[in-house]
Point group: C2
Chain length 235, copies 2
């Protein structure tokens, strides 16, 4: 079925076609609605979004640098795919950046932003039972990003956001498999408390454990994740 682009009602010029394409494709890649390694057909996308190939290609070039798609000269763009090591590398990086961030938070006294994080998460703690997995992952990412943002390094936050998007599918699985959801909820609260009490040593300890740098259950989660993505393909 083909649809004509003439049906664009209330065509909001405020949202550029490139941006729309970017967000649309990124979402498909993040959730692996486009399977890993699969070729991305520009014409197909252009028709689906009711635009020409030009903005599609511009968006794909953005996603290429962002690590969401790969590129082969003459063949075009493909959904990113990764090995267990690739995922582990991204998770390691994320842990390193967050660790660095908390070590760079300066004076922690009387900071409304810390309090805001705390109270937001306390709300999550009370109603996490009514939240679905997507909402939970979203809240979790938000917590960690805001934590890192306390250090005030916007560039680091940007990178962390990018990594979060790229490993989101793994984080979803990690949360699903979390035996007792209240564990990680409580850990976030403890992190906030250590922050407010300015207990740096405790803070580092808590975060290291929470992010699970040396967590032995990380490997099986990654493999579970890859198994799902790649279906019956052998890694």
């Amino acid at each position: 079925m083909k649809k004509k682009g003439s049906l664009n009602k209330s065509n909001s010029r405020s949202t550029l076609a490139v941006k729309h394409a970017h967000d649309y494709i990124k979402e498909k890649v993040i959730d692996f609605i486009i399977p890993p390694g699969e070729h991305i057909n520009e014409v197909e996308l252009a028709e689906a979004l009711g635009m020409s190939r030009a903005p599609i290609r511009e968006a794909l070039n953005q996603l290429y640098i962002g690590g969401f798609v790969t590129f082969q000269s003459g063949k075009g763009f493909f959904c990113r795919k990764f090995s267990a090591k690739d995922v582990a590398d991204l998770l390691e990086l994320r842990a390193d950046l967050e660790s660095a961030a908390i070590s760079h938070i300066g004076n922690k006294e009387a900071r409304p932003d810390i309090l805001a994080i705390y109270s937001t998460w306390k709300e999550v703690a009370t109603k996490h039972r009514e939240m679905n997995m997507d909402e939970l992952v979203n809240a979790d990412e938000d917590f960690h990003v805001k934590l890192a943002a306390l250090a005030g390094n916007e560039e680091r936050v940007k990178i962390l956001r990018n990594i979060n998007e790229r490993v989101r599918f793994i984080r979803k699985i990690a949360l699903e498999k979390e035996p007792r959801r209240s564990n990680f909820i409580g850990e976030h609260l403890k992190i906030c408390e250590a922050l407010m009490q300015q207990d740096q040593a405790e803070l580092i300890k808590l975060l290291d454990y929470h992010i699970g740098i040396n967590s032995s259950q990380l490997k099986p989660i990654i493999h579970e994740g890859l198994a799902r993505i790649y279906a019956e393909e052998i890694l």
Copy 2:
């Protein structure tokens, strides 16, 4: 089987226009041949490179995500510009990532890659007097990237390469101002030695000092750099 061996000059098409434009524009931005904040004229670039605007725009979209140019809807692309804090943030990030890298280098025994870095730098040490500033900065970046690469996390290396490119103009000034060039040359050698001797504590100490996280002379260098870039403009 191979096809008939015809001298295919068409193979010189191997360098895509997009990639050419990307490298060309990036170079101008890195060296601030395009002044910070200046609007980038697509038609001008297209004519200068003998191509149409399409590949130019694709390249610009890549550079946008890479942090080399900014974008304003309806106005186009502009050379990146930054404040003293922006530079400091990038340098902080770079330091954090390198620190994290060396803490993740596993077994350091009998590693040819470590020896290779050492011997390469020893060569630099002997002939650094005949090297110009660009060569020196290049060698320095190379050293640090290879150091970080020892940890085996390709994604981190990618980010470090990106940051190096973005702060290169500052690093050039830092090197110019280095009172005794042999200082930093010697520090690299010491870092290698600490690596080979597996003296982790010493290694961290050396690197922290070398990268100058808390170096008080960092601030004046940044300001000197920005002053040059922005010429008489006030920051």
